[in-house]
Symmetry: D3
Subunit: 242 residues, 6 copies
């Protein structure tokens, strides 16, 4: 996949296709290197029971991998137990979107985002977040006139995510599967377009890391997210800022 020629502070090539399917008002096919995610979104006028009557909305996300997104094929996620990793990822996506949301501006409405991985080559959770933001903007536009105040944005800032890690002793941006497998430290960073942190999840993989390493990783992540934010903005054109 010729990732060898990519520099360690560069993102993998990105392609984004909006309106990939038509039954969902937000539908984004995002490809980053060998990873492809379909992010779809819609907003229905209903909130979970515990939120009813508060005049606020809710945002939730689901994440799944198609069985043939990997080689060899992995089992389809069915049966009594949701895999722990799946759960962590979909909770992360929902929480990240809520961190930039103005839930009151949504009214009593739930924005639901689905991230289905069609091809997996590392970074599926961060690609899901980056794509979800675009799908969310499109889904919210579709209900704009039904919002309590059509001029009040239910999203306060844009949102993008990238992975960074220490591979062979050096900090690397946007790890593919092989790099992720080899990394001693693996970190997912979610930031807003304005450069504020939403989530930092740094993990030593049977290893630990120092303050200095943390600093370099955060610097790389910030650089990657700046690029992703620019791409998002260009793709959304007049739709963002709202």
């Amino acid at each position: 996949m010729a990732t060898a020629t990519r520099r360690s502070n560069e993102l993998r090539p990105i392609r984004i296709k909006r309106r990939f399917t038509r039954n969902a008002p937000g539908s984004v096919l995002l490809t980053a290197g060998g990873t492809t995610v379909l992010c779809t979104a819609s907003a229905l006028p209903k909130v979970p029971a515990w939120m009813e009557g508060k005049g606020r909305g809710w945002i939730t996300a689901e994440y799944d991998m198609l069985p043939h997104s990997t080689t060899p094929r992995r089992g389809r996620e069915r049966g009594p137990k949701i895999d722990g990793r799946t759960n962590e990822i979909q909770r992360l996506i929902g929480r990240s979107l809520r961190a930039v949301a103005d839930l009151e501006a949504l009214g009593e409405r739930t924005l639901t985002v689905d991230c289905d991985v069609l091809e997996a080559d590392g970074g599926t959770r961060t690609a899901s977040i980056t794509g979800s933001f675009i799908a969310a903007v499109d889904a919210l536009h579709a209900v704009r006139r039904e919002l309590p105040d059509p001029d009040r944005y239910p999203l306060r800032d844009s949102l993008a995510a990238v992975s960074v890690g220490i591979v062979g002793g050096r900090p690397v941006l946007d790890l593919d599967y092989e790099q992720d497998y080899a990394a001693s430290v693996d970190m997912n960073v979610v930031m807003t377009g304005a450069g504020r942190f939403v989530e930092i999840q740094g993990t030593g993989e049977e290893a630990t890391f120092t303050d200095d390493e943390l600093d370099s990783l955060l610097k790389l992540a910030r650089r990657g997210i700046r690029n992703l934010t620019a791409i998002q903005k260009q793709k959304l054109g007049r739709r963002w800022p709202w």
Copy 2:
């Protein structure tokens, strides 16, 4: 969606893209009118425990709909129970492929096909079968040299499927969602390229039907499948016949 102008004995427009994703050796994106299905396939050298040591292979299929394949979004199929309809469909797909297969020519190997519906507008199970055949051919080519006899085809004939039904008293080919909903009789027909039946599933929806109606429906189905077979052949080029 302008299906109004389609004649009742015409198929909806079809688009087929092979190699849509790269992690599966067979990967087909098939669009028929407003229905889009991703069919992926691969063949691994392993059979279910009850088949081991017999020198024969196996073919199995899974079917699922992405939540945003419909408007409004439907719940993701998770949790303890697989929906009955899902189960019926994936059993049908697997059985249909096995009906045209030469399982001995496969050797001890399982061909697994996944049909994931990205957009649903009627006919998802028949589109899945039509697309699966192409994905299966590609997946089998990928392991051709590992077969017991590379010149013996594990597929004896091509396979396609179409729905027919009685809508407003008249037989109609290739029903979209609205037509399917309005139909008093609904029939799915699976046939081989040579024109032999593989499956006939005809159901009165709180209604019944006569011998004559059955005849007209089967005639329509045969016509539709002839067209689908021609398209499959053209798409596969030199790969089919094997």
Copy 3:
């Protein structure tokens, strides 16, 4: 079991016992050759949530096999997953009964039919349908005075089912387990007493079939169902037609 002497266009011997148990208003023990099914039915004044307030009723069915209905014993169907075959069969039974039902004549009431296989020797799903019709008539009589109009029949026609198949190259009626296992084509046909089709489910078992074979199978099925209808009528006496 001496089925060898039966001709290929004859039904297996049938015995039907109404009121086999007393806690259900409809309770039919039906034996067809080596297959015995207990069909019980009752109608309670409650419909599923999605049907409430429409003034119409609903019909649903469940199917199960006792563990010792087969040799050797099969596992009891418990645990998180309902077997796909079980699901298909119980959906078929419910759908077939609804096809001959006048759900408005039922009022807001659910007719529930249980088919529990005590002995299995092929044809358990068709025996279940044939027996269910009788149990349903008895269960509906028990609530006749509570119907919106006691003179309007909630069942518009009688219902029976039979299997047919191609065994050793010849069409055969009412397959027992061994014949079913050997069959290249297996078809279940559900028809009304008036001779209209309700369901046709024909399947090549790793095989395919022609138009002519389809015709012979349907002719045989029609003959078998004529006999079953006569037996049902005789057993129900004054209760049917209603």
Copy 4:
């Protein structure tokens, strides 16, 4: 059901039909008053993994109620959880049979007994035990020649069970559903033909009981079990004692 005329120290009328179905070597339809249970049994040459290689057998039981065994119909026991009551009962049946068994005489073989309640009017667990013993004898006869020593009985004694309780202040034998519902104390007693205890389960239902009450209940139970033992012996004829 005219149980009013029965005296409080009398059993309800009992009917026992052996060989009710043919696919299980032991198959007993036992009716006690308004309760009908089908007990089936077979013995296969396989033991649970934790018992392998010890030269001993195992006995296990399953219990279930058909949905229409009660009025109104109860839900079918499916889905992720087995009901606690079901579990208690099937553990009791298995444990009781094992208490009179010579598991070494069985060889490495599992006797499996299924008790399926077709009609429930109280005492289904005790009827299940009483019927299971007969089904077990028949199932063991079917494999007699395959036992380590055909002259060594895998069952050392016969087994029967009955319920007793305090209803309206008085001890009553063999409670039907209404009596069971009204009882302040409810006790199930399992004994051998030789008059030894296997299980005593006495429960105050939001009530408690004294030593004297316990004595009267045990006396009644002993009387009932003597009668049941005589009936079992007569039904089994030359088969018991083995």
Copy 5:
């Protein structure tokens, strides 16, 4: 654990600590020999749906063993099936408490008791009952002023439980794990402080027992429960009798 020096009619040493944790109004750590159970209880103003509007309360219990309560560690009870033994025990605890309760005096309120075994060395279910009574008293005191009549006791009598069994041919009180494993007969007895029976569950473990053996076991149990009742009373001080 030096249980060898204990006489066969003596209880194992008991320690009881009330208010072991603070988030539950009743919280009792009970140690009996090598068995330690944490019993916690609280009473919330809510009853199960089927009890609403009757002015009566309800009592329910749950029981679980921590994985490291045994050597070697046992699997944590998760997943679709609750173990049959767990179910039996928690049903027994709830039923025992209800037998001494005045559910009307509770008002529409549910007392929930949790028994979590921290260390298991036999007798965990009886220790759970003995400890639950104390936790229940404390939990009820916490809501005393909210009861329909603060002077009417929701508990009519105290409750304690002990195991007895026949080990090596002799009756033994309060079996530890090794004794329980070796016992031919195992009996759990639940009694009130006033000496009335609540539950008797006697089981032959692949063995049976006589009337005389039953008598000796009940005598031993009565002796043990007298001691436990005295300890409970002393621990509760002015709280009991209420």
Copy 6:
């Protein structure tokens, strides 16, 4: 609970009791303010199937909360789905221990740690990690002589964890439940005794945070962990360093 008087850079009072139960070789009761966790550990000579034959060990953890650990009582975690939060936490604990482990020094052996929360007042996952380290040391000592090399430590460094957050605009160390609920940013930090990071999980709760805020939080966490490390060392005495 008088946490008001604690300064924002101080830990809550900690108590640690080793050998709290006896069936597990490592058993630590750790109380931090109003949070109490029982951490138990043992190491058995068996690894998961996918690790067999590699000469390396494995470390795994489970986490659960007793129902009465909170007010009001929460439901017991049973049934088909493990809660997403539970899953995240137990994966975090296992991963953290593995980060400081020398899995080859373990040999083919699995160290299993259970963290059961008896009382919850914030910080249960960090208390679990801090306590697990001590339980792990004790469990490893119990098998020291069975390790491939008794002088090679299976743990390379000590491990402790603490939560920090931004509450009312200010950084706070070791949040209790109320502080956690009020926090706009919540971060869990796991570090080694030598001051290296193992995990950083920082989350904006419907909020975001800056680089500067991140710095202050990390500084606070480092201070807390220094204290926890000192306490661990003192409690373990001669057992650590190994």
